[in-house]
Amino acid sequence: MRFSRPMICMIILSGLACMGGGGCTPVQPPANTNATPAATATANNTSAAPTPPPGTLGPAIPHDANFSDNPQTLAAIQHDFDVFSWQSFVALNWPAMPDGSADPGKIIGADGDGAVVWDGYKEPYEVFLPDGSTPTPWGQQQLPAQCRNLGPPGDKVLQMTQKVSDDVLDASGQPFGTGPLVDQQNGRYVRYEIRINRDTYDYIVQNTLYNKEGQQAFTQLIQFPKGTNPSSQAPDAPVGSIVIKAAWKVIDPAQGDIPGRFHKVQAYVYTRASDNPPTPPSCELKTVGLVGFHIAHKTASAPQWVWSTFEQVDNVQVGHDAPPGTKANFFDAVSTYPVNTPPPRPWNPNAVLPPDKRSQVKRVIPIDDATKALNAQWQAWLGGVNKDSVWQYYELVSTQWPTQPNASPTGPKPAGDPAPPFLANATLETYIQGNTPNVSSSCIMCHNNATTTNSKFSDFTYLLERAHKKGGGK
């Protein structure tokens, strides 16, 4: 057997866009071209801008990787998954229409920054409600009370200060030493959010996995939908389950941030009440910039999911084309604070830490040379759409995939021998970088331990641990 070649190119060229709703909706290609709008992008291009192959920059979320022809090697398949990652990144960050779906008439970055497709995905707090009741329908959002009536509507509610939420921190966060990440420029905590696409949401709701009683009653093996490439026999094949994790920093030009190098949103920065230190709940409306971006996507070629992770290029060192004076987001050469060490306790997300206590982050495993070359290519293409595009300032760290995808979920090695064996995003797994088995960050190996509230394997997502009892309570 070999990694077979699905028909991603055909999907893209046919204009099938899998959009905010998670399903696939036909998108009409623009007039005068049979490719995606990117092929016709000229408004802000420089004449020397590199041109990607037709259809490369498109709104269609790939359902699976597109495997190249022989010879198949570890490096070749890694490349194929890395391309899948970039295609996914572009499609998920494609300009969205008011209903959350991809706007086929626009091109990523051509008209500046704005709402993107994954903004319309659901957050876990909207799905796993405190009283275990049925989640709000797809497309509706409920704001925390402290965030209401704050003036202009914000785009997002950011409340997590660690990748692992408060709900599961005791179970999964502390054993790995996970701690908050503090911005070098302004001393503020980085905020996180998790979002799920429509296929993931539907599976949870249809199987009543949003409360403890429903999980108890579900006796089958939990298997989220996998993305399958459409074919003539199955033109409506699902995009598959997608879980997004994003890391955001507060953008403050007065502190040295260069806003034009970040995808930005107005967000409600919400802090829950805390006992240590005593902190009341609060909510502030802030401009935040994207610094980290995980995409976990279950596909036919990867039942252990494909794990793509991106960062803003200035996170641990100043990236390409930076104007003079640009500073790294999470590293300062003159700081004496220990590298890759969580900030001192107590952790208070409302605090602004002094410069000598801010996170000093170094990447432990360098980005692979082949991935760097691919990044340069895609960054040039995105910059070719618009020389001011914020999207050219993001880089793929790597893509983790199972080399043994058919390993039995009930066997002794269900994780499928992931490649690369270790993968960390400097903003999301800051303090667990490295190459020690069962200790250092490895997306698949970690999520292989995920369970439901009744300790059943939950198919590589920790989200189901957040379910409450019907009527309330843990």
Partner: protein, 173 residues
């Protein structure tokens, strides 16, 4: 003899010595091929002429005999040889226990004999754990609650013998 040829011969010989298939021992797409680490350990611990003799003897066996007869030939030509036999038995220990035992050529090896765990990667991949469908201390991929169900009846114990029946990791839709 090229290094790739050395690795092929080492894996082929190891397959006969351990009872696991060559695909199990050295999967095509393994990101951390433990076979390479074991060969490097062998080459670092054993005199080069003896390593060459061991691998070329296997290569000759593989070229001259059908697969079904090769194990018996390995028994006769390698395991009973006073020089190569102890090395071959130590290779078996290395594959199963992830440890290279020193002093293997001077007397019996026991669990208390001095030895070195080849690497953290090798520690997680000892064949003993696959054979008994268990896991080494401190490292398990098995899902929570696995102890409540009987082990699988078949021998698909390693990722290399995954459901696609091939170590190449294929089976994609």
């Amino acid at each position: 003899m090229s290094s790739n040829q050395d690795l092929d011969n080492f894996v082929g010989l190891s397959a006969i010595l351990t009872g696991f298939s060559a695909d199990d021992l050295n999967p095509q797409f393994s990101p951390q091929p433990v076979a390479v680490e074991y060969l490097q350990t062998l080459q670092a611990k054993v005199a080069a002429p003896l390593v060459t003799q061991l691998l070329t003897t296997y290569q000759t066996i593989a070229a001259q005999f059908p697969a079904a007869e090769q194990p018996a030939q390995v028994q006769v030509q390698i395991l009973t040889d006073p020089q190569m036999g102890p090395v071959a038995r130590n290779i078996i220990r290395m594959w199963y226990l992830s440890i290279w035992y020193d002093g293997y050529d001077t007397g019996p090896v026991t669990g208390f004999s001095p030895g070195t765990v080849v690497s953290s990667n090798a520690y997680t991949k000892g064949l003993a754990w696959d054979a008994m469908q268990a896991h080494p201390m401190g490292y398990s991929e098995m899902h929570y609650g696995y102890w409540a169900t009987p082990p699988q009846a078949d021998d698909s114990t390693d990722a290399g013998s995954s459901a696609n029946g091939n170590s190449s990791g294929g089976g994609q839709a």
